[in-house]
Amino acid sequence: MRNNEKENEKPLLVVEDLRQYFKASGNFTVRAVEGVSFKIYPGETYGLVGESGSGKSTIGRSIIRLYNPTSGKITFDDMDISGRLGKDGKKKLHTQMQMIFQDPMASLNPRKKVGDIIGEGLDIHHKYSSRMERDNLIREILVKVGLAPEHASRYPHQFSGGQRQRVGIARALIMNPKLIIADECISALDVSIQAQVVNLMKDIQQETGTAYLFIAHDLSMVKYISDRIGVLHLGHLLETGTTEEIFENPVHPYTRSLLSAIPVPNPLVEKNRIAESYDYKTSGLDYNKGTSHFVSGSHYVKCTDAEFEKWKKRA
């Protein structure tokens, strides 16, 4: 697709060997993210998929610095944002990178009017010269996400789930970010509303050229929105590549089981299909021993040499 031109382009976000550990007690550490590396180019969508507990949300939160990464390097727009943040770094992070959360009701302050929720970033970073300009900006953004300007004076509880998620998107968009981290932002919505929100996100990307880190467990939606995909399991990035590469030629057995587990809305086919099963404990794999192997184009898989030879033959 757009890969060839991307090779020459400068990536917007580079994550190198990111590790995020949480100390649960004196002698037990949860290794949520184990040496994950990937790149996001300007204007593209990178989908992170994996089951719950695989560390996909943790990666998003480490990048936007809701957590302090244990080790690894994160470069955002030519600036190192993984160590101690200076004033410039903080400012850049807080304006150029935004996040959309899963549950729109829990992430919007119920005591604030929607206009003030959306305008909060503008207020903090003094992005306007007059009250009029602020209100105009808020109105514009509301229209852009498919709401009406008069909605600015309402409270979150007066909206439906899909509308609330639009408010969440508006709040992220108003800062004109270069990267939006969408953490399971459609999982809590109804099917018909999911499609509306995903279409909106695609339209906005085309218009503003913002990049998305799209975190989800629903592979069919991820396939639809992403240019490239990373598959996570137990904190390891097992396989990454363009959407076509992953879906046409999944190499890692975990990716294959994940793809085969998606139910197909086609009764005659689905009734006879048996999902490939995969269990890390009995598979005999050790993710810690794996290294990155090149498959094709931008398709990489993490495994040992022997495993790679075996899987390549099968594929």
Binding site: E51, S52, S160, G161, G162, Q163, D190, V191, S192, I193, Q194, A195, Q196, V198, N199, K202, H217, D218, L219, S220, M221, K223, Y224, F247, S257, L258, S260, A261, I262, P263, V264, P265, N266, P267, L268, V269, E270, K271, N272, R273, I274, A275, S277, Y278
Partner: protein
């Protein structure tokens, strides 16, 4: 053939409203559902369409502010000595239902296993609870049967797991325990209310296969409440599509997926991104589900329906019969209606689905 089948559940003209502070919410507006022994019926719809309320009514566990305006829910079962009996659940009081129906003959699996399990009780105790309560099973025997159930639902080290608390299990295992509890009293009917929505795809596949296997082995009937059409395709024999408290289309699984007639079903099928979709945009149903606080004249789906006719604003469409098993409530099927075709993308997709299905049959 159809007459030989033994009917388990027969819901007729069910009409329920809730008295809320803001007014009367008319949640169920004339629902008919039939279920035969050993079969699986799926109820599909968005949140707020009334699918859970219908099933809660069948279990007699409606919220206290619910008012049943009319209708009947006839449930047929056999006594221990084999004599058949049919009761209208709506006419029975809570206590009778608790003693004779809940858990014993109709069991329910809820969406979130963490909230449906008691965090202060070991899972062994929770599985045995129903048997001891309903059948006065001796404790030792109940324990043995509970271990057997845990093995049946695919939990290893069942003996050891009996003493564990819910928080010691993973999400998928918890849902397996909930299924074991539901099966403990050998019910005739299992109601699964979004049993896999809170789970990952890989675990979802395993749980669905488990429910299918159990159903086959025990010959019980299953009602599946879900909004995931992929899951429906896997499990269901019959599908009921619900919208705003009404069933708008019902039919066999193949009729609904390969020959849908209602514009809402078209929308639902199109909005689901299948893995072969190459289009740049997903089809969406415009607008959002209606507010049931306000009674609307005519078809509730009309404001979101790009195929809506003038009559849709005045009168509610009746159920039009298409085949012996296939019904749809849309004025488009009236002989006076102008001819309306399903969206081109959808018909292309259905053609592709049929082609794939053929490949599989050969």
């Amino acid at each position: 053939m159809a007459k030989e089948k033994e009917q388990i559940l027969k819901i007729r003209d069910l009409d329920i409203s809730f008295q809320a502070a803001a007014g009367n919410v008319h949640a169920i507006r004339g629902v008919n559902i039939d279920l035969y022994k050993g079969e699986t019926v799926a109820i599909v719809g968005e949140s707020g369409s009334g699918k859970s309320v219908t099933m809660k009514a069948a279990m007699g566990i409606l919220a206290s502010n619910a008012v049943v305006n009319q209708g009947s829910i006839e449930f047929s079962y056999h006594h221990e000595d084999g004599t058949p009996e049919t009761v209208d659940i709506l006419t029975k009081d809570k206590r009778w239902i608790r003693n004779h129906i809940n858990g014993k003959r109709i069991a329910m699996v809820f969406q979130d296993p963490m909230t449906s399990l008691d965090p202060t009780m070991t899972i062994g105790k929770q599985i045995m609870e129903g048997m001891i309560w309903h059948f006065k099973t001796p404790k030792k025997e109940a324990w043995k049967r509970a271990v057997g159930l845990l093995e049946e639902v695919g939990i290893e080290d069942a003996e050891k797991r009996m003493k564990h608390y819910p928080h010691q299990l993973s999400g998928g295992m918890r849902q397996r325990v909930v299924i074991a509890i539901a099966l403990a009293c050998n019910p005739d009917l299992l109601i699964c209310d979004e049993p896999t929505t809170a789970l990952d795809v890989t675990i979802q596949a395993k749980i669905i296969e488990l429910i299918k296997r159990v159903q086959k082995e025990r010959g019980i009937s299953v009602i599946y409440i879900t909004h995931d059409l992929g899951v429906v395709a896997k499990v269901a024999d019959y599908v009921n599509v619900m919208y705003a408290g009404k069933i708008v289309e019902k039919g066999t699984i193949n009729e609904i997926f390969y020959d849908p007639r209602h514009p809402y079903t078209w929308g639902l099928l199109s909005a689901m991104p299948d893995l072969e979709t190459e289009d740049e945009r997903l089809y969406t149903i415009p607008g959002s589900p209606p507010n049931l606080l306000k009674e609307k004249e005519g078809d509730a789906f009309a404001p979101r329906n790009c195929f809506a006719l003038a009559i849709d604003d005045k009168a509610e469409p009746p159920m039009f019969q298409i085949t012996e098993t296939h019904f749809a409530a849309t004025w488009l099927l009236d002989e006076r209606a102008p001819k309306a075709e399903m969206p081109a993308e959808l018909s292309a997709r259905i053609a592709r689905m049929k082609k794939e299905a053929k490949v599989h049959e050969e």
